[in-house]
Symmetry: C2
């Protein structure tokens, strides 16, 4: 039941993905025209429409493709390497994967709306968080302070997003108590 994909289709997908990445490095996703993509990809606009409904559709396909690549790399490693320290092993592969496709990931991250939210949270909460972490082991480690704050604020935002999207999963009080436990206090 394996469906063979026409070589031409594979090729078209590749040039479309590459064109999108190239353009996303240059400008906002919003401002990219389908005709731009086709021009860079050197394909006809009607061919684009034969494959995708719009540019967002194309973006999702490209991201899905990335995910498949990563999953393959992880799978391959699992078979070869039988290390005890799974998580560090996982991180290494992940980081290499992202490093190799850095421009792609960067272009995806470049124009996002969440990032704006996170940035303003960092902006607004930095001082209070640092005051909590002060005199703590973490701060005494040789990790740069801005890395530490990014880490904990990233965690907060991540749970916060979950809380926003799932209103009745837990109360505000529970949320606070989770943060209180997860973020190290003075010792």
């Amino acid at each position: 039941m394996k469906e063979k994909i026409d070589l031409r289709v594979v090729k078209t997908n590749r040039v479309l993905f590459n064109a999108l990445i190239t353009l996303m490095e240059q400008k906002d996703f919003e401002k990219i025209k389908i005709s731009d993509i086709c021009e860079v990809a050197l394909i006809n606009r009607s061919t684009f429409y034969a494959h995708y409904e719009n540019k967002y559709d194309l973006l999702l396909a490209m991201i899905d493709n990335l995910k498949q690549n990563l999953e393959n790399e992880l799978k391959q490693n699992k078979e070869e390497n039988i290390s005890k320290n799974y998580f560090i092993e996982f991180l290494k592969i992940l980081i290499n994967h992202v490093d190799e496709k850095r421009t792609t990931y960067n272009s995806i991250l470049q124009n996002d709306k969440n990032g704006i939210l996170i940035d303003f949270l960092i902006d607004v909460s930095n001082r209070d968080l640092i005051s909590r972490l002060k005199n703590n082991n973490i701060v005494k480690s040789n990790i740069p302070l801005d890395i530490i704050t990014k880490f904990y604020l990233g965690g907060i935002v991540s749970i916060g997003i979950d809380w926003i999207k799932n209103k009745d999963k837990y109360t505000k009080e529970e949320l606070i108590s989770y943060f209180d436990k997860l973020i190290p206090d003075k010792i």
Copy 2:
């Protein structure tokens, strides 16, 4: 030097913000037309262009407005309340703020591209992370497991994004060592 803003402008901004939020709850930002926004806001399209260049411009203004609200609330509390536990105090205000504007924040988060990346990272790394956290104090606390993983993966993504955007700030090896220190291992 205070510039007074015409009441009509204030009103127009408000209806535009509200219209955008309403529409973002219903569909992708990509698919929202400026004419949609104006229709919902009950203003003329030429009025829109008198204030904003495009819908992304409007979105940024709306988010900036949110930020100002939050900052005011924080400032007000700082003056009134002189508690020792600054960070928990901060979190309470933040959470109340987000809770009150939940639909707004939700609509912003609904259609983002980073979220897709984070989701697939969660998808792909869950098992390995849990295996690391197992037999650890954190997992033994009464925090739900999916909250814990969201927290640490959020932290990882947050630093990861920083690393992607600032190529030469630190090496892959340093990155790994940061994660190794920040994420609790078996005790």
